[in-house]
Symmetry: C2
């Protein structure tokens, strides 16, 4: 087992990464203060792992909420189901919430923990590659609004993250690829050496080579933890983690939550951001080709859905969290391994990318 610390003063916490961690009761209990524990999971994960988690919690007063699976259920209404359960069971402020699932479960459960009685402790047990390398780390929690993704939420840090790499055995191929999109992102924004490693090892990752996966997860978590420690609430450098996400969120919102996996939308959005960076004169043609080729090899989509017109993209992108007074601002690339902070983009140039970079 490897342990990394996310360094955030009195909100610091460990990320545990290794095989079989799900069954190590002591990892849970050292972070649980009182008797009441709620496990939130979804219909897909519950039959696979819920009993194993509950088996570690003997002696606690446990209850569980099983939510429907998918991004379309990351809503205020579903959030309220978690509150219903907490209150029906008279859970207090020292109760602990455990998020067992992918990014959707982590985001909505973390936000429930942030808001219930103005904040109760919670533990992240990410069960997808994407959640292990990205969404479970760093304290971004929240739900979607019909008009924009992740528009309602909180910065709220967990007590710990338990990333058991064995759970990836049951992951669908499509979900594995979605996780690779965020892994590639770390290479692009701040770790050129890792990007080259990914080019050399993408086939091993797709073949679920344990050693390659462990390396990629750890390297991603270290990158993320460094960025978050430097800028917890995204007043600066943390925004670079959003490479490709403004385009990506527009795809997720515009096509209907759940149609594209988050990682798939981010892959497309990152290719769009790369195209725009080339038009800005920052990336070489060969850089863009390398980027697009790696996403393709990871079995990810690289072109936006034809159903979304450039005009719809512009409309959807106008509510992004990085915008100021309505102006669209994007993370772009100066080179492979070097992202910009949010930059305002001339709308006609943005339109060119949106119109040109299509299948």
């Amino acid at each position: 087992m490897n342990t990394f610390q996310v360094a955030l003063g009195n909100r610091s916490y460990p990320i545990y990464i290794g095989c079989g961690l799900l069954d190590q009761a002591e990892l849970y209990t050292r972070h649980i203060k009182a008797k009441q524990v709620l496990v939130v999971t979804d219909e897909k994960i519950a039959p696979l792992y819920l009993d194993r988690v509950l088996a570690q919690l003997k002696g606690y007063k446990t209850t569980q909420v099983i939510l429907p699976d998918g991004e379309q259920h990351k809503s205020l209404d579903v959030l309220n189901q978690i509150f219903d359960d907490l209150l029906a069971n008279k859970f207090g402020r020292s109760a602990t919430l455990i998020a067992l699932g992918g990014g959707v479960i982590g985001d909505i459960s973390g936000f429930a923990a942030a808001c219930y009685q103005r904040g109760i402790p919670f533990i992240q047990i990410p069960t997808t590659l994407l959640a292990q390398v990205d969404s479970s780390v760093g304290g971004k929690t929240g739900v979607n609004h019909p008009l924009g993704k992740n528009m309602i939420g909180a910065f709220y840090q967990p007590q710990c993250v338990i990333a058991d790499t064995n759970v990836l055995d049951t992951l669908e191929d499509r979900q594995l690829s979605a996780g690779l999109a965020e892994i590639i992102k770390y290479g692009l924004i701040r770790d050129a050496e890792f990007f080259s490693w990914l080019e050399a090892n993408i086939d091993a990752l797709l073949a679920r080579d344990k050693q390659a996966l462990a390396f990629a997860i750890e390297r991603s978590c270290v990158n993320k933890a460094e960025v978050v420690a430097e800028d917890e609430t995204e007043s600066g450098i943390r925004a670079t983690l959003n490479l490709g996400h403004t385009f990506g969120h527009a795809i997720e919102t515009g096509m209907g939550y759940g149609e594209y996996l988050h990682g798939e939308a981010v892959a497309i959005g990152t290719c769009q951001a790369a195209d725009l960076s080339r038009r800005k004169g920052w990336l070489k043609d060969s850089d863009v080709e390398r980027i697009v080729a790696l996403f393709k090899r990871a079995k990810l989509p690289v072109y936006p859905p034809n159903a979304l017109s450039p005009e719809q993209f512009l409309e959807l992108m106008s509510v992004d969290k990085k915008n100021v007074d309505g102006e669209v601002r994007l993370i772009l690339l100066k080179a492979i391994g070097l992202a910009t902070l949010p930059v305002g983009v001339d709308e006609s140039l943005l339109h060119t990318t949106l119109a040109f970079y299509r299948s």
Copy 2:
């Protein structure tokens, strides 16, 4: 104008108290960073003060949300109306939200500001006595759940509080009395001298004597600011501000939100807490008589509704935020001017108070 600082490190902010502050544009603009401003208010306050507030915001891109009046509307559904408006107007993370109204508006707007895009700046303009002396100060925001009051929320501090004492001229008598309940609370928990002053000046306050009101508001805000500065997220001393509130929340939830004003429920609950403190051997009979007499003179109810049985009280009190693993914990009084931290209470003794202390 008097200015007090709530000392919370980089979340510190001023409380401005004085006559006519509503019309001082500079008080607003010094705390607004970007062009977008949303004013949230209610149907009762909008016709009285909304235009005057908007008149101070020339040059900004303003929009407004007018909510129905009353505690029963402090819900997740109504919260979502604020998000709808923010997103429909493409408001960004640097937009400012202004809460213009009583405690309900301040609580729900503050929570909207805390959650929208994971946090945007907000300004409190409290228009009731209760909001000026209590709910607008200290960063407790949130909404109610059918099973418990203020169960969903955040600690989130405003940029400033603008308390214009002139707005109290339009306050209904019943609302004025409700505010006095929280003012009396400060005397009871930590300021015996203030309690004596209130005994001597309660008639002047009810007659809306400007000087008496100004003194009571300032003394209350100073008390609250000191407590909050010491314990922002209620891990200790801040819980004393909850004197009477566990009983009071049970009344508000049990009778249906809006039936009793918050201050009315707190007045009753504080008398119940005083009765229980006497049974614990801490308060003298004469102390309890002084307390009940002062609430009565302030034209506040002092007996719980007969419609709520002791058993219903116990059930409703079992979800209070101060409880640990299901045990009811209450703030009680050791003397007038000295509150306890949350203490576990023997259920049979609590039942005695609930059964005995009735009209």
